[in-house]
Symmetry: C3
Amino acid sequence: MEKIIDKILFGGDYNPEQWPEDVWQEDMRMLKDAGVDIVTLNVFSWAMLQPNEFFYDFRKLDRIMQCVTEAGMKVCMATSTAAHPAWMARRHPDILRVDFDGHKRKFGSRHNSCPSSPTYRKYSKRLAGKLARRYRKYDNIVAWHVSNEYSTDCYCERCERNFRKWLKRRYGSLEALNAAWNTAFWGHKFYSWKEIVAPNNLSEHFGYTRTCFQGISLDYRRFQSDMLLRDYRTEYNAIKKYTPNIPVTTNFMGYHYQIDQKAWAPYLDFAAWDNYPACDSPEWSVAMWHDITRGLKGGRSFWLMEQTPSVSNWNRYCALKRPGEMRELSYQAVAHGADTVMFFQMRRSIGACEKYHGAIIDHVGTENTRVFKECAELGEELKNLKAVTLAARTNSRVAILFDWENWWAISYSAGPTTELNYPEEVKKFYRAFYELHIPVDMIGCEDDLSKYDLVIAPVLYMIKGNYDVKLNDFVKRGGHLVTTFFSGYVNENDLVTLGGYPGKLRDILGIWVEEIDALPAEKENNFTWEGLDYSAKIVCDLLHPETAEVLASYNNDFYAGMPALTVNEYGDGKAYYIATSSDPDFYYNFFERMAVELNIPSLGEAPKDVELTIRCKGSNNVIFALNHSFEHKCFKIWSDATDLLTGEEFRANEEIWIDNMGVRVLKTR
Amino acid sequence: MEKIIDKILFGGDYNPEQWPEDVWQEDMRMLKDAGVDIVTLNVFSWAMLQPNEFFYDFRKLDRIMQCVTEAGMKVCMATSTAAHPAWMARRHPDILRVDFDGHKRKFGSRHNSCPSSPTYRKYSKRLAGKLARRYRKYDNIVAWHVSNEYSTDCYCERCERNFRKWLKRRYGSLEALNAAWNTAFWGHKFYSWKEIVAPNNLSEHFGYTRTCFQGISLDYRRFQSDMLLRDYRTEYNAIKKYTPNIPVTTNFMGYHYQIDQKAWAPYLDFAAWDNYPACDSPEWSVAMWHDITRGLKGGRSFWLMEQTPSVSNWNRYCALKRPGEMRELSYQAVAHGADTVMFFQMRRSIGACEKYHGAIIDHVGTENTRVFKECAELGEELKNLKAVTLAARTNSRVAILFDWENWWAISYSAGPTTELNYPEEVKKFYRAFYELHIPVDMIGCEDDLSKYDLVIAPVLYMIKGNYDVKLNDFVKRGGHLVTTFFSGYVNENDLVTLGGYPGKLRDILGIWVEEIDALPAEKENNFTWEGLDYSAKIVCDLLHPETAEVLASYNNDFYAGMPALTVNEYGDGKAYYIATSSDPDFYYNFFERMAVELNIPSLGEAPKDVELTIRCKGSNNVIFALNHSFEHKCFKIWSDATDLLTGEEFRANEEIWIDNMGVRVLKTR
Amino acid sequence: MEKIIDKILFGGDYNPEQWPEDVWQEDMRMLKDAGVDIVTLNVFSWAMLQPNEFFYDFRKLDRIMQCVTEAGMKVCMATSTAAHPAWMARRHPDILRVDFDGHKRKFGSRHNSCPSSPTYRKYSKRLAGKLARRYRKYDNIVAWHVSNEYSTDCYCERCERNFRKWLKRRYGSLEALNAAWNTAFWGHKFYSWKEIVAPNNLSEHFGYTRTCFQGISLDYRRFQSDMLLRDYRTEYNAIKKYTPNIPVTTNFMGYHYQIDQKAWAPYLDFAAWDNYPACDSPEWSVAMWHDITRGLKGGRSFWLMEQTPSVSNWNRYCALKRPGEMRELSYQAVAHGADTVMFFQMRRSIGACEKYHGAIIDHVGTENTRVFKECAELGEELKNLKAVTLAARTNSRVAILFDWENWWAISYSAGPTTELNYPEEVKKFYRAFYELHIPVDMIGCEDDLSKYDLVIAPVLYMIKGNYDVKLNDFVKRGGHLVTTFFSGYVNENDLVTLGGYPGKLRDILGIWVEEIDALPAEKENNFTWEGLDYSAKIVCDLLHPETAEVLASYNNDFYAGMPALTVNEYGDGKAYYIATSSDPDFYYNFFERMAVELNIPSLGEAPKDVELTIRCKGSNNVIFALNHSFEHKCFKIWSDATDLLTGEEFRANEEIWIDNMGVRVLKTR
């Protein structure tokens, strides 16, 4: 891949099979005018490619490939397996899912296949292989795109049987399983594997995340993620047989609850995701989603596989992207590690549920639209940027942990409060660094900590395996660790670690958490740190310092005076504990102070809504500045630089102006 | 019918089968005291009339007919088929529906029959025929009432099979169907008719109006409306065989989503509806429902089949109708075209879910109640009015289009906003004329436009067949057309018309709509017209005038200065386009101005909450004035008149006083 | 039982089967330190005790019994039947319930058994018998605890068949049933018992309390309560065979909708309940739940079977019980009639959905926690109190009726308003007496009225049997009766009593209610009584006094001047009617005045949030004072007294200080 890609790829999903062939040439002309150099083909064509069990018909796809190849386009080739054909559903009903309420589904929608369906396995594998074999001759295929936005659940009896097998592998014996799930509670002891049923609204659940037994529910989530991964890997292997050198991926969705993206990452050749912020998603959310995606493969660059040129039609209110907003969001992706800027979709379709979703070519069919023109201008700019950011790296000294299994466990927890939302808590920490203009890596439990000065593990409820040892080592060797309330409670089976919260983290944090008080949504306590008051919300730990020093205490309620913030010197490092959930000001001020202490520099001086990021390759450093506001702003960086978009040159510490919704790509000297 | 009806019929649903026979005579005495001259019988008696497959028992109904006939009552005879018997459900489960979630229902409730059940077809037809044959000898039967408030859906496999047949008739080939539904999207191509399943929560839907494929969902709505119509027609024909001269109808419910009332209208001998406004339904809603019903049969008068004398017990809060309110609502019906004033019900039942619904005779069983007395006073008044309004007409020069298929398509649309509600948008236009005291016809796409000066087609999203040609002709010949945002987008299959919105209306409107911006519920833009500012809500088109003239532009956001209101001179007429949704003031002022331009007179000068309507028969003109407020008001009309209720005489332009909740029926001279 | 219990029992649910045996001894040591002298064992052990159809394994329970017996603990022995084993669900699927939507459930959760399952009946009976036989030798078993928190519904075909049998017994004939349910409405007449299906979302219902036929729904509720009672009695009898002298009970939940607790009461040897107020449950709610429980057995003392030492983990926000709050709530139970103070649970479990529910021994496993210490202090106090309150009585002169069937009927009523909530209306009356410091009995329809001076029957919608005669007798003999709007409407089949509301109460109340106006939640009327204005909410009756005197009238709306409050002198007594729902001030002032008239003394003079209750045994009178506020307060009582907790002595009418969250137990002299 590296060989033939020498610039940020620009393009996206293209569905010529929805159009008469005479439109295709017009498409090519217009898309080239827009600077498009890559199209994603074949995302939803299974029914076209395979009309029945015995026959495949690649004639139209052949012509499409010929068309786009002749137009000089690169291709991201999808395998079409995210929606099975109607005939397959009718003749092989095993392919249909059973939903969370226990209903066998009928043909319709997408993500409609049972992940353990033999029919699905057989035909998806065969199709992926046939595609790879047939199109391997095209050297413009730069990537394979397996399925699309994996996200489904199934609760059928076959999945149930597979779940039992999966459990046997995990636990070995029923004794171990009964212990892991604490089935002595409510007398749920299992004497035979066959007694275990899928946990859904007909059995242990009373809502998607409300369960009577966290253990089984957590394992079913793992199992379903694994089943989908197995499906993905089946296609992956079928493709690699014929095109071993073309990278294979699938497109994620920021952080998606149902897929343990971090567990999948080793099986992707590169990471990719679809960026569809709602009209009220804050910029730091989007930034964090990018960084999570970059973190999947240890900091390697990723693909922005989809975004909308303007409207996401499934939103409650389909607001337009404002002038400049699409460009700015595109650069934000690149600024966080994307090597592509790709859209869903090239041409707006005429029917079905996404016909009002944005596209480069609108229903009017001309280049004379605001959206087309903004796309074309961006396409032109990206050509000029060349390869400078491709495969670049962001060398962060700060890492924030985001762990899917921890998320699942917290989501299933009965208590302390339904207000507790793991990603939202993580986001509070991410936002502080975003606004401090300090780059951050989003990591998983598998990632090495030794390269970081500061590791933040918000709400680390579940300590998997010996992750506490890893944290211990990190701190002992001089690292700074920050964690929070509701950390260290359970092991990977959601069984409480006895001996006092925060369990295995008690030593490193030097505290004992005796109780947690949950606050109704409309209430708050507060605490004073460094002379300022900050709110204490959602939960307040009642904790006792053991070896830790108290940095701040609650001001109200019967636990006034008890610690709200502590630090423990441990080995050569320090471990901080934030006992409650606070407001943005606190996190900003707290980490601003810590960055000074740890000598972690910001990338520059800028207003909070002017985002700064850095991408490094060899001796090249590029700082991106992104003005997310609707006003002109100014900022400084610490070295001389040239704006690669405008050619302007700036001196270190010079005030640099940036337009509303503006972007600067500053190559430093 | 005409022969024997010489006054506004007064009465309604009567259920003596729920009572011992000794109560019947008492009923007759009291109802006659109340001026009742018509009863609707037999609405829910199927189980009584047919105790099993083989036997019918009309003895009680015979006695009821004898009783009411001897009392001199006219009869509206229902067929009892809106709820099937329990024995039928048990012995012929094919009669039971499958609901939107795919659940086979059990016996219970009403509207419980599958519309394609052979059992239902067989026995409902037989029952209707037997009733007609048995009771044709009674010359006091003035109408047949088939079933009741048709409104059901079914998603069973038999309906599925019938749907496929319906689709074959509609499309002829799978190629045509695949094209019409754009099944290339998400690879939903069908290779066999049998692959098509009913669209519900188990297949294409994720909510009643949320669908992945608009095409199939829209067709299923049409199909279900057609299936119910077929059921209705089966009974209609069975009745006509024996009583060809007695008119047959069914009772609608204002505008009901599930039934294309306009498509049914040709098969009704006259239109009828049940008027149950909620306690917060504005008066213009009720007025519009009446006018929609009058419009079903091209302006012919209709029956008010049901209303409550006081309480609708299924409301969240069952507020009483205030003193005078029932009378006023009754006259409002007549004022809009009703030839009857009928109630559900004559006597309040003692058990089951409607026992607290209003009735002329309450549980107390005496005439000494407010409700009884108000009914009796109205009964007396109606006697005095005689036939003056019967079969009268309202000759409107303004028409507003209300189209069910357009409604369905808009309700299914994914984008631009969930705030968009077709009937509510239509109502905004209706309200303006209501408050301007200008009569309006509510029309369908089939109706002739040539008699109107002004045609308004709010949110005309779907252009069915060549309706654009009809509109073109209308405007070219000098008509004024007003339409709005989200018009002209699709054809009857919900496929987008390419070449720029508003599609086939682009020419007539002289504009090109490039984009739509959806505004969250709490936000608005605004525009200035004729020196006043008006809000712009829900959506704002970003449009370019082509041949149109710009009348008003947005004041805010990045599209400030773009048109919000345009007019295009086209042939001898004009076509207006309102690019956003505004507040009542705008529509009022806009159409007040247009009425002046078009020389369309109001019926008088009156406060907005004093409604004025007109009914004409031969040389007789009757103007109704209805004071919906709780204060005395005064108004003027343009000609001399006599109040038929009081005998008062008024001169043209004289100030006429009207009581709170008051009514005047003014015969003009 | 009486013999061996000489103090308030202190302890609760203990689940050693969830723990290694070496923990048990540590438990015993700590629990004894905490003053625990009773443990409830075996609540959820069925799967452990019975691994298959043929084999029982009591070895672990034997060891547990030995352990707790050696530790000197008393035992409340549960039968483990509130959750069946997984193997049973797999091999005997008849045990699994069908839910309200018609879904057959799979294994999971608790309350998972169909109440008419032969498998459940067979094995639950056998288990209860085996337990009784095996452990009868232990004289420290002081009570049997059947199942747990009965609360389930089932809608399977077997329940349906049993329902038909139940109906046959109730009605004798289909004619009687058709009349009772008024099946002539909507033609639901049944010709065969087999046509009757369970009323749920697939048949008559459109929501759990929304039904098309109140009659069938009401009978199904009765039937389900009866089926569960039959299950309970099956176990009861199996136990009594072996241990006829040990009392048997089950634990209720305040007032639980699904169980007619009053109908069950005769089959309990004593009443018991689980007290889990939400963090915003007002104190008078808790007090009323206690009094309802005390009322179940005619005023006999009951068991507080469960409460949490601190957190209820299933709440939305799991707030801690504040320091002193657990103690105060424990004394509140005793103050209202509890002979025990028991907790769920002794030791916090490590896994599944209640692992964050409070326990005496927390996950930290030490005695050094706030919660443990508060429990231990309470344990110590209770020892010192000895038997003084055991089996004491509260001799109230005021009774408030709370009737389950009336509740059900009101909940099912379509009209007059969804705002009407029976328990909340009852609570308004209860609260007045709570704040007036006047003890109240919560009674059922079966209870004798002759010992009361004042009987209040709020919203007595349903008059069962000849309950009107009972009320008549009570008033005629000099009693005071207070009732309200929506009273006297129907008989026990929810059939309206004809002849004018309030039906059979019309005579005694001397009024005729002509109409009911329902007010939206945001609206209110008001009335003036004794010079003060009070709000009139939810509904306003429009009524006519016949023999009654009008005490207050509405001030607004068209019924201004009509009575809002009446009194009727009847025989030697009086019957009051409150025609609307008002605010706390009204009820307080109204009953304060009535207490003076009836010479019903308060227990003392105290702020509203200092609760006073009395318990009497022989010549001993104990007054409890409970300060529910977070401030110090003072109060007076009318006689000299000694505080049994502190030894302090007070004179009659002396100001007595009480701590925030404080308790005084005052033995009067």
